[in-house]
């Protein structure tokens, strides 16, 4: 104990001094000054006030632009000379095209894994209420299908799509052509190999046995190499950037780039820990991979897509600074709330609970920014499926985070821990927030990267409503069933089997919801295949919808 306290004191001292030095440096170098133009970095001069949504048909785009002008909200930077934008738009178009190969490789791979993960998810879900289904082979047992679903969904779909969106954002954020894109293309191949090998390892019983860290270390090497290669163009383009100010999306991308390798490498070092210590490392990793990898990627995309589509800078740029650093500070220490009541030091668990509650600060900062930006132009939601996906995603981010803060409280956790409630919550974050934002971003990106339109606007709507309604049917029954399960387990007078019986109808409903979501994904994947197979019209020359009338 004495050693620990001495160490803590020394560490606190060193870290405070280091932090203070960093703060002094930041103030001296004017790092925290966000000029009025900073939020408009992502716009060309005179572009504010013009919507951009490559996923909607031209007629809808015109209607969107008209609605946008009827909003009677004049954003800062609006009404500048629109003609000055043209030159910049030509170079932006070139920059968009420069991401084509790496972005499409990461994207196509992610869509493949989305389909695989969806099917695995439904199979695992059905197995929970039809336990005798597919039991003859060890590879098909629930205990292998479930982690195969989790790993394909998180490392195959979510991470690869997140990286694709990240790579595509790079030239837009730095206003320069993507440099070294072929490294990222190679990275996609290596990463894919890693996910393939990892899933094969799980299905054949070679899992490491730690949740979120099932891939054996030999496979982890591939993911580290693939991720490292994907980071090369980010760094190279950053060095050649033509903007002074780094837009908020860039902060999130840069930090995700640092965090993921730190997390993934540390957590996968073989034989570092065992027993209870290992469980703490496990949950330090597993929650940080959501908080410091997926969340920054998703927020980077949302912080770009929302203002860009509605043609208005973010509501309060100063808030985004608070949101970013508070997220880093608080999210990084929430992991141990997964071990409430477990055999680990209580003070460490309490620390994680405190940080979980403090997460309300960055979440509110982000929520105000995203929701206020959309709220001022909410009618655009009617026309733009891209905006609809991203906005719903941003709303569910708020919901998932607030729910997470509440869930970490001991009274609530006593009920929800060890139940399906937690599974519903995990999907609210990873699916409701992250995947929805990715869906929207992909609809935006594909026409820009390929120069081809989405052929069937109705398919986009079908995708949206299938996954939206599917997710409602997934989330609510599982949440209610999980809560009832928790209550049953807390009552010593009810036999354990009651906590199993009570969940059964809800688990069936979850399978129905999951099936609807899977159908939506198949529509999405087929639709994307049509575009990528060249079965759609080339998009019109202008990359940006013109103002209908020149500003007075």
């Amino acid at each position: 104990m004495t050693t620990a306290i001495a160490f803590l004191l020394a560490a606190t001292f060193v870290i405070s001094v280091g932090g203070l030095a960093l703060l002094v440096w930041a103030l001296a170098n004017d790092q925290f000054t966000l000029g009025p133009g900073a939020a408009s970095t992502i716009f060309a001069d005179g572009e504010v006030g013009r919507i951009e949504d490559p996923a909607t048909p031209a007629a809808d785009r015109e209607q969107m632009q008209r609605e946008r002008e009827d909003d009677a909200v004049v954003e800062p930077g609006e009404d500048e000379d629109a003609r000055r934008a043209e030159q910049e738009l030509v170079s932006r178009r070139e920059a968009d095209a420069s991401t084509r190969v790496p972005v499409l490789w990461w994207l196509v791979s992610s869509l493949f894994w989305l389909a695989v993960a969806s099917v695995l998810g439904v199979v695992a879900s059905v197995k929970l209420h039809v336990p005798e289904w597919l039991v003859s082979e060890a590879a098909l047992t629930f205990g292998r299908i479930r982690p195969a679903h989790l790993n394909t969904a998180s490392y195959g779909w979510a991470s690869m799509a997140g990286v694709a969106v990240g790579i595509w954002l790079v030239p837009r954020l730095f206003k320069a052509r993507l440099v070294g894109g072929h490294w990222a293309t190679l990275g996609a191949a290596v990463w894919n190999l890693g996910v393939f090998a990892g899933v094969a390892a799980i299905l054949t019983g070679r899992s490491d046995g730690l949740e979120w860290l099932e891939f054996p270390w030999q496979v982890d090497v591939l993911l580290v190499a693939g991720g490292g290669l994907a980071a090369v163009p980010l760094i190279l383009t950053l060095l050649r950037r033509r903007v002074q100010h780094l837009y908020v999306s860039a902060w999130y991308l840069i930090s995700a780039l640092v965090w993921f390798p730190m997390l993934f490498l540390t957590a996968n070092l073989p034989n570092l820990f065992s027993g209870v210590e290992q469980s703490m490392l496990n949950w330090w990793y597993a929650h940080n991979v959501l908080g410091l990898w997926m969340t920054p990627l998703g927020l980077a995309a949302a912080y770009y897509m929302i203002p860009k589509i509605v043609g208005a800078p973010i509501y309060s740029y100063g808030l985004s600074l608070i949101g970013f650093w508070a997220l880093a500070l608080f999210y990084s220490q929430v992991g141990l709330h997964h071990l409430i009541g477990g055999p680990v030091p209580t003070w460490a668990v309490t620390l994680s609970i405190v940080h979980s509650v403090m997460m309300v600060i960055p979440v509110l900062a982000v929520a105000v920014n995203h929701h206020m930006t959309v709220a001022r132009h909410w009618r655009l939601l009617i026309y733009s499926p891209t905006l609809r996906f991203v906005t719903v995603g941003a709303m569910l981010y708020t919901a998932a985070s607030v729910q997470g803060s509440l869930e970490s409280l001991r009274v609530v956790n006593a009920v929800t821990h060890f139940t399906h409630y937690t599974v519903a919550h995990a999907h609210l974050g990873a699916y409701g927030f992250f995947s929805f934002v990715l869906f929207g971003s992909i609809y935006f990106i594909v026409p820009r990267a390929t120069g081809r339109e989405w052929p069937f606007p109705r398919a986009i709507s079908a995708h949206f409503w299938l996954v939206f309604l599917g997710f409602v049917v997934y989330f609510w029954p599982l949440t209610i069933g999980g809560w009832l399960q928790g209550l049953a387990m807390l009552d010593p007078d009810r036999p354990f089997m009651e906590s199993v019986e009570v969940t059964k109808p809800y688990l069936v409903a979850r399978s129905v919801g999951g099936t609807l979501m899977t159908l939506g994904h198949l529509v999405f994947v087929v639709h994307a295949a049509l575009v990528l197979g060249g079965r759609s019209a080339r998009s019109a020359g202008a990359t940006l919808f013109r103002r209908l009338e020149e500003p007075a």
Binding site: L128, T141, G205, S207, A250, G275, A328, V500
Partner: protein
């Protein structure tokens, strides 16, 4: 913010700090007060193989191994045992604390259900012994045979659940897995964790 390096350094430092707080610090505390409980034995070879099978079949995704304090949940009243302490997991790698209780906690299943026959039959056909259970069966851990060889372990199934002819024989894998389950027994007494103002070290 205009300096990528500033963001990079800030982000890295914050994560290092977090790691120090919620991984390194508690680990130092645990290891400085580490004591292997007197009643805890290392797993036998058979149980160690069974444990590897438990990991590879993903039993952990439905069964936790961490009875909680009576103040938090009635785990003790369910017969799942006293609240576990760090020493109970001294020989556990990978750890199998788990996050779900789709099925019951198993840290003391060996004490609660010490019958090999029960476990074998339960793995072969969970609903034969535990009606309403949603646990999958594990037929691939067993073999059907008309005439069991000498020394093979025949699974005793309740009437109506046994095959019409012949017998179900446990493979070595099934026996190893059951051996592991039987060695999940942390019922020996332990000192509790240090309490605030208490007598702990």
């Amino acid at each position: 913010m205009t300096r990528a390096l500033g963001i990079l350094a800030g982000a890295a430092m914050i994560l290092l700090f977090a790691t120090l707080m919620i991984v390194v610090m508690p680990t130092i505390q645990l290891q400085s007060s580490a004591r292997i409980p007197e009643g805890l034995e290392p797993y036998s070879d058979s149980a160690a193989r069974g444990r590897a099978l438990y990991v590879s079949l993903g039993c952990m995704y439905c069964h936790s191994q961490q009875p909680r304090d009576p103040g938090l949940a009635p785990d003790g009243l369910r017969g799942w045992g006293r609240p576990s302490v760090p020493g109970d997991y001294r020989y556990d790698s990978p750890h199998l604390l788990g996050t779900m209780r789709t099925g019951p906690d198993l840290l003391n299943i060996g004490a609660r259900q010490p019958s090999v026959d029960w476990h074998l039959a339960h793995l072969y056909d969970p609903r034969a012994l535990s009606p309403g259970s949603t646990m999958p069966s594990y037929p691939f851990l067993f073999r059907r045979t008309e005439k069991p060889a000498d020394g093979s372990v025949v699974v005793e199934l309740p009437p109506g659940r046994a095959p019409a002819s012949g017998a179900v024989v446990a493979t070595q894998d099934a026996l190893d897995l059951v051996q592991y389950l039987l060695e999940l027994d942390r019922t020996y007494p332990v000192e509790t964790l240090p309490q605030a103002g208490g007598t702990g070290s």
